[in-house]
Symmetry: C2
Subunit: 327 residues, 2 copies
């Protein structure tokens, strides 16, 4: 048995508990493909995202974080659709089959999978430069999926959590070799980059209520801009309303914190719109969701994205993170 088959056996054993728990996995890892029982009267939601070493995470990143993030970015896509996550498949390309990588990598991925009841049901391991593709599958009741393109001028624009933390965390990670030990606030920012939490619960709560939704992976301004374009609108963001974490302000000061929140990538928060008349309904629904949301602006008829702060325009790069430009 070759090393890569051993890896598949390893993942198969590690994933067995979740497979048994779900009860809808007829065949998981070990056959040519996974065989899955779909629940009746549900639409399927499918996401496939890749993390590449040196592009999406630093070369010396903790393997547990790589495993966590590879699944988290895909669950975040499912969250942005309002989906209930169900299954995932893993395509892992790595230079060498080293237990010192595989054990924490799989621990990181499967700990997150367990938290959301997601079973690892298949995939592929091969040799090559380190990269990880995860396919996440989930469901929504027919007609309830959140989408990018159904916002309307006048809808209120919200963001979850405290955007900008992950960008500051990545900067700390990249400077870590030169710096001393991280304090509690720096640790918090590092965790926000290394272990983003997909907003599954929030996405579910927004079904049938949010008019449009997108996950914030390329930066708030870039992704809010995509939502606005898809909805045939423009948008106005009041930067004074941005929910900034104390840790972020402490680490970089308020001016830079605002820029991080507007343009930093890797937050995996949700940016969504709600008709103004349904604001109270949103607040009522969110009482049971452990995730803060903040109204930061609104959609407008006029195309383009306008960011102001205390009345003054802020010019920021709205193009978002481009792997080709910055690589």
């Amino acid at each position: 048995m070759g090393e890569f088959e051993l890896i598949e056996c390893y993942f198969r054993a590690a994933a067995q508990g979740l497979v048994s728990q779900r009860g809808d996995v007829i065949l998981g890892i070990g056959d040519d493909a996974a065989l899955l029982d779909m629940p009746a009267d549900r639409q399927l939601v499918a996401a496939l995202d890749t993390l590449v070493e040196g592009r999406h995470f630093p070369a010396d990143c903790a393997p547990a974080s790589i495993g966590h993030r590879a699944l988290a970015v895909n669950l975040s896509d499912l969250a942005a659709m309002g989906a209930d996550p169900a299954w995932c498949l893993l395509a892992l390309t790595l230079p060498r089959a080293e237990p010192s990588f595989l054990q924490p990598f799989s621990d990181g991925l499967l700990a997150l999978a367990r938290r959301y009841g997601v079973a690892l049901v298949g995939g592929d391991t091969t040799g090559g430069p380190l990269s990880v593709s995860v396919q996440a599958l989930g469901f929504v009741p027919p007609g309830t999926a959140l989408r990018r393109d159904a916002g309307r001028a006048g809808d209120l624009l919200y963001v979850s959590g405290t955007p900008g933390d992950a960008a500051a965390g990545l900067a700390l990670l990249q400077a870590a070799a030169a710096a001393g030990p991280a304090d509690a606030q720096q640790q918090y920012l590092l965790q926000r980059f290394l272990y983003p939490e997909p907003r599954i619960e929030l996405g579910r709560a927004l079904r049938g209520l949010a008019s449009a939704c997108i996950d914030v992976s390329d930066g708030l301004v870039a992704d809010a801009g995509k939502l606005a374009v898809a909805s045939g609108c423009g948008a106005a963001i009041d930067a004074a309303q941005l929910p900034l974490s104390d840790a972020l302000i402490h680490a970089v000061g308020t001016e830079q914190a605002v820029l991080h929140a507007l343009t930093g990538g890797d937050d995996y928060e949700l940016c969504f719109t709600v008709p103004a008349a349904r604001r109270a309904e949103l607040e009522a629904r969110l009482t049971n969701v452990k995730c803060r949301v903040t109204c930061i602006g609104l959609l407008e008829k006029q195309s383009g994205l306008r960011v102001t702060r205390n009345g003054a325009a802020i010019h920021c790069d709205t193009r978002g993170y481009d792997h080709f430009r910055t690589g």
Copy 2:
């Protein structure tokens, strides 16, 4: 708009015809995830396989072949389950966004997708060393999926097509720089490596008939061995029965042709078992399938895989292709 977003727009436009044709794609490329209408009373079949440059294809491989094979290897997994293919997602990692690569790559992938009515519904493009992951999704009527683990001692063992051609084709490709122009038989072998045909039609015809099935990607002996182990059996293969193509015999001689057929990778044929009492039923079903199948042996109670030719044992490497060992 960054280069990688342009690529997504490009694939979105190129895939639109297939999306419209299927009618079950609510949201395809362009939202956070794909939103898909499952047919009633079907189980979902999901495969995810990756091709890495320098491991699964040579560095100077034609982009059209890379696109074709990235989808073909996943459709082959679906074929081995007897599934009807429906949708695919593409995770493409490439060093630079060059139209001279992207156009033939997408032509190759989408031409194959079109042939099987598969809609490209999502994915991800990023910068990095060239690798391609495709996720293929399909359906089977409940309880009819082919699997590896349900063969029984006494069942007849079959293989489709003419295995070994792809290994000879790869050898020709690797020697191409030194060799002159390829003749018709060499062209045939090259095509067998560069443009393998997933045995979708055959897999469908075997539903409810084959006791076990696997696709041959790592070599016939290795994959038949996996089927036998999963089914709790051993297997005997009579190498004199191997269906060898004239082109293969012409290119490498009969002795080497037999070894290619037994151990060469990348064939993407199906290897399957049928209860001996149902042989006539198999033959009747296959009259409408444009793919030859050949009985090459049978499953046995005694574990292990035995290959003989005219009564003499053949010893061959049964471990299959290992990306770590041979890379």
